[in-house]
Symmetry: C2
Subunit: 151 residues, 2 copies
């Protein structure tokens, strides 16, 4: 039997070990991926919110690190709401995501318009800037959740 190249064997092992790729259905993997991206986003968004609202001490280094994560992940979930991903993996996405796609994309765009301002504020090292930028971004999260996410 011909040996597979080592790189392929290693890749296969890693991919098998990664639960997101062990899913039989790509739609399930997509749902898990968008949920994962939202979970990472929520953690670092929540960290900024806690600082902005005085529930955690302001730490410029933490805020900048949160900003770096948010910059990389805030657009990711919206790549994974394709056809056939409306059911499964305990999704909390409402059917409206696929019924009112233009509205959903519009809400996502609003968040993507505000988030860079929050990211810049969180990188500035200036607490007042962070505080000022947090609420407008949080409102775009809430607005979209109200319309498109089950409680």
């Amino acid at each position: 039997m011909k040996k597979l190249p080592a790189a392929l064997v290693t890749l296969a092992a890693v991919v098998t070990a990664s639960s997101v790729f062990a899913q039989a259905k790509p739609e399930e993997a997509a749902i898990k991926y968008r949920q994962a991206a939202f979970t990472v986003m929520a953690k670092h968004f929540g960290s900024l919110g806690a600082m902005a609202n005085g529930k955690a001490p302001f730490d410029a280094k933490v805020a900048a690190a949160d900003a770096d994560v948010l910059a990389a992940v805030h657009g990711l979930p919206f790549t994974a709401f394709g056809p056939g991903t409306d059911k499964g993996a305990n999704t909390k996405a409402k059917p409206q995501v696929w019924q009112k796609t233009a509205d959903f994309n519009n809400d996502a765009d609003k968040m993507r318009a505000e988030m860079p301002k929050l990211i810049a504020a969180a990188r500035s090292g200036n607490f007042d800037q962070l505080k000022a930028a947090f609420d407008p971004t949080a409102k775009t999260c809430k607005s979209c959740h109200d319309s498109f996410k089950e409680k």
Copy 2:
């Protein structure tokens, strides 16, 4: 009744709507967070691997975008293996993570030493660089999974 500041009300609504923070136990939230970070990481690592191994066409833009996500998330899971996070939320982490912490951290360090090389290669726009850098990084994933992750 005194009204709460609007920013706090909005934050509370967003935080409540985010499942990771709706968890009663912070340990459960930590497990979900590290799983989420690994899921995002696996997706973009897998994307690079598919290109490196000829299962997907090489696309320099996609590779660079994958690299940006990996740069932001590859260190995140290791912030969430604290005490009390060894059980719950269907964790696949073996008890050895907490029994042989030095070895676990050493394995994580090996990945963190290789990943920047893969990220640089993926940003280079050069397929041969990506191909060369993928396998050494994948080996660090596999090695740690073999020792510290249930199948």
